[in-house]
């Protein structure tokens, strides 16, 4: 089977290594492809620079003022900041990311966006979300669940932290036809 061409620990290390190596995100070309001009006007340049998502989950998440939203794999923080604007100061936005550098970067971007009073970023893994059971109203993510070699575990963890009636809203890539082995065994393909 194509998905068995790399071991789980190899996939995980490849993803971590790829994200550690990059010195910028997709920047405006990626951000303009995904987000509306109105959304981009609400986030600082540093968050746009580190845009690495594949879709735009926040408008689909039906976020309400006062809700608690968790962004899995928050990266430079662009989706977390957009979500923070939606839930407002009565709510809470939490981003978790595998890398300390991303956590620091996203925190600085949230401060610049003026949402830091109700937004926090934590280092953590989506296979072991560092939050209590039934503690969030909405989970979002953008191009991240596909990076995990343990997707069922990620979904189980997401289910655990959601309150009853809570919602999951993710943007991600699906692939309907097998890709050539040369691509499936590429660290870069797994990380992207």
């Amino acid at each position: 089977m194509a998905h068995d061409l790399l071991y789980q620990h190899e996939v995980k290390q490849a993803v971590r290594s790829a994200y550690e190596k990059i010195t910028t995100g997709g920047g405006e070309p990626v951000a303009r492809r995904i987000y509306s001009p109105e959304q981009l006007s609400r986030v600082p340049p540093g968050a746009i620079e580190w845009a690495l998502g594949v879709g735009n989950p926040v408008p689909h998440a039906d976020l309400a003022q006062g809700e608690t939203v968790l962004d899995l794999g928050s990266g430079g923080g662009i989706d977390t900041i957009l979500a923070a604007h939606e839930v407002g100061p009565e709510g809470r936005a939490i981003g978790i990311d595998l890398l300390d550098e991303m956590v620091e970067r996203a925190g600085a971007n949230a401060r610049e966006a003026g949402v830091d009073a109700w937004t926090e970023f934590r280092r953590g893994e989506m296979e072991e979300i560092p939050l209590p059971d039934e503690s969030v109203d909405v989970v979002i993510s953008n191009g991240v669940i596909n990076l995990s070699p343990r997707k069922s575990r990620v979904l189980a963890e997401t289910h655990r932290v959601l309150k009853p009636g809570g919602r999951l809203c993710v943007a991600d890539l699906t692939v309907e036809e097998d890709l050539p082995p040369e691509i499936l065994t590429s660290d870069s393909a797994w990380a992207g």
């Binding site: 690495l52 689909h60 069922s152 979904l155 289910h159 309150k163 943007a171 692939v175 990380a191 992207g192």
Partner: protein, 68 residues
């Protein structure tokens, strides 16, 4: 991961009202915008993936579900 697999995993995790939509083709030129895809990999993709499939190697989707 195929859409039907993703939907099945969400249901297996306990989610209800699973919906997958807002589908947008994601091609090699889209991938090339991301620094995570190395130039070498993009070249390999252009060489090994049939031209008619290069504009839609994957599909960007929004997946939604609710915890009962």
């Amino acid at each position: 991961m195929a859409e039907r697999v993703f939907a099945r995993k969400m249901k297996k995790a306990g989610f209800a009202d699973v919906w997958v939509g807002a589908k947008i083709p994601y091609g090699i030129e889209d991938a090339a915008l991301y620094p995570l895809f190395t130039d070498d990999l993009v070249d390999v993709m252009r060489r090994l993936i049939a031209p008619e499939r290069q504009g839609s190697v994957a599909i960007s989707v929004i997946a939604k579900a609710r915890k009962p």
